[in-house]
């Protein structure tokens, strides 16, 4: 018996109809979120046998790259932005403290808090930089800076955990990316590669990093973002087992130092008025009636603080 070697025209039409029906799902999903649509392609045609489906997937991928915004960037791209900003951070705020015990200590507290955060599926890196201004900031993708001055002015581990948790919350909410989402660099760029770093694209990338520096190092994020990070951070610290009131103690301490401290590039110039933050955080404490029974850990903190 000879096998049929040709395809009947009706079969081709039916196959096209079936493929069109299959594409209706990804198309609808694409309108809502391109990333989900591409996953759906893998489910519909897992073996990548259908040429029509694969052709449509290629088109969707291309359009998806253009349609994406700064906050929809994949992690590697977000982290590349964070690394570039961190390089600028060292130049602006100084090199990391040489004491590896302190670096490890801060990293451990930071990562303990991360376990209870909204975005614990990415790695985080915490670094103490030698600087005499009171500052902490988070680069997109999870590189978090804290100045030695801010660390030295704290009294216990709960206070440090709360400050780190505040920065972890900024990364979780993607606040920095939201602040620069209209940067020209993102027009038509879905993923960042080394090709984006050269020529015209490279200039746009550098401008975007410049915008980020202006936001994070000078002007500060939107006030609502700061309030959101304050309350989220307190929640992460509480979940970890630290007294979230530690955050209010840090704000109180900064309030006392406000009159005489250097303002430029510090938490004073990049964050909302301390009085407003203290008031909102005090209101937030209503969620934690047993806060006073939670850990503060002063002795261990003081031992590490001495090393700075």
């Amino acid at each position: 018996m000879i096998k049929k070697q040709f395809t009947h025209p009706d079969d081709r039409i039916n196959r096209t109809r079936r493929n069109l029906l299959k594409l209706a799902g990804p198309f609808t999903l694409f309108m809502a979120c391109p990333a989900y649509a591409l996953d759906l392609f893998k489910i519909i045609d897992p073996d990548e046998k259908s040429k029509d489906i694969q052709r449509a997937k290629t088109i969707f991928e291309g359009v998806g790259s253009i349609a994406t915004s700064a906050t929809d960037l994949d992690y590697k791209s977000e982290f590349a932005i964070g690394e570039s900003l961190a390089l600028e951070g060292f130049q602006r705020f100084g090199l990391p403290s040489k004491n590896q015990l302190v670096q490890k200590y801060v990293n451990t507290i930071g990562n303990a808090v991360v376990q209870n955060s909204m975005r614990s599926d990415i790695p985080y890196y915490f670094v103490v930089v030698e600087n005499n201004i009171y500052n902490a900031f988070a680069c997109p993708g999870g590189i978090i800076f804290v100045s030695s001055a801010l660390l030295k002015s704290m009294n216990n581990e709960a206070e440090l955990a709360c400050v780190l948790a505040h920065e972890v919350a900024h990364v979780g909410h993607k606040h920095a990316l939201q602040a620069i989402k209209r940067a020209k660099f993102f027009e038509g760029v879905g993923k960042i590669s080394t090709a984006n770093m050269k020529g015209e694209e490279g200039k746009k990338f550098q401008n975007m990093i410049g915008d980020l520096q202006t936001v994070l190092f000078d002007h500060g994020l939107d006030q609502d973002m700061e309030f959101e990070a304050d309350l989220s951070g307190m929640s992460f610290a509480y979940q970890t087992g630290y007294n979230p009131e530690g955050f209010i103690r840090v704000l109180d301490m900064l309030k006392q130092k406000e009159a005489t401290a250097v303002k430029e590039g510090s938490w004073f110039s990049t964050h909302p008025p301390l009085t407003d933050r203290i008031q909102k955080c005090n209101e937030g404490m209503a969620k934690y009636p047993d806060a006073a029974s939670l850990a503060v850990v002063s002795n261990r903190f003081v031992e590490y603080r001495k090393l700075l």
Binding site: D39, E83, S84, Q91, Q115, N116, M118, M197, Q239, A295
Partner: protein, 175 residues
């Protein structure tokens, strides 16, 4: 007489509200990485199971910051309240796993990070090629690149975190 009746009614309503409010929820969800179900309401007791984020747990009782819960497979045990949420938490695939469906679930959990991307980033040692190129184009001095390399190479394992919390008597290790 009428006043006494009204006062009794308000008193009854107040007491029932307090009792109702203090009742533990019927279902809770694991909201933290590294969550362990224990045989007793002590961190030093044996571990029954390690629970992924997003796991739904049926609450049997609540005592001293610990929930007694039942897993869908019938196993029971205790979990520290800092590890759970009373509102639903979407399941995630964790940092070390990645698949196409996993990516989809990861996205639905509110994170736009694909698990496979996160995974591959973890295998990279030091600066990414993109940041290296940025530094080159920008003429960033080598000292800053080297320092960032060191920062990115620094890792803290879950067992180190556990040990650290235990030493500080923090969270579930609080006495």
């Amino acid at each position: 007489m009428k006043k006494i009746g009204i006062l009794t009614l308000f008193g009854f309503l107040f007491i029932s509200t307090v009792i109702f409010a203090s009742q533990p929820p019927s279902t809770i969800w694991v909201a933290s990485d590294n969550a362990k179900l224990k045989t007793d309401l002590k961190s030093s007791s044996a571990t029954v199971a390690e629970l992924p984020k997003g796991t739904a747990l049926s609450v049997l009782a609540y005592q001293e910051k610990w929930y007694q819960v039942k897993l869908p497979n019938g196993k029971t045990g205790w979990i520290y309240r800092g590890k759970v949420s009373e509102t639903e938490v979407q399941k995630t695939q964790g940092k070390e796993e990645g698949s196409s469906v996993g990516g989809l679930l990861g996205d639905l959990s509110g994170s736009n990070i694909r698990a496979d991307n996160t995974d591959s980033s973890r295998s990279i040692r030091g600066l990414s090629p993109e940041a290296t190129e940025y530094a080159k184009q920008n003429g960033t001095p080598e000292v800053y690149r080297n320092e960032l390399n060191k920062v990115i190479d620094r890792k803290v394992s879950p067992s180190e975190i556990d040990q650290f919390l235990k030493q500080g008597k923090i969270g579930e290790y609080q006495e």
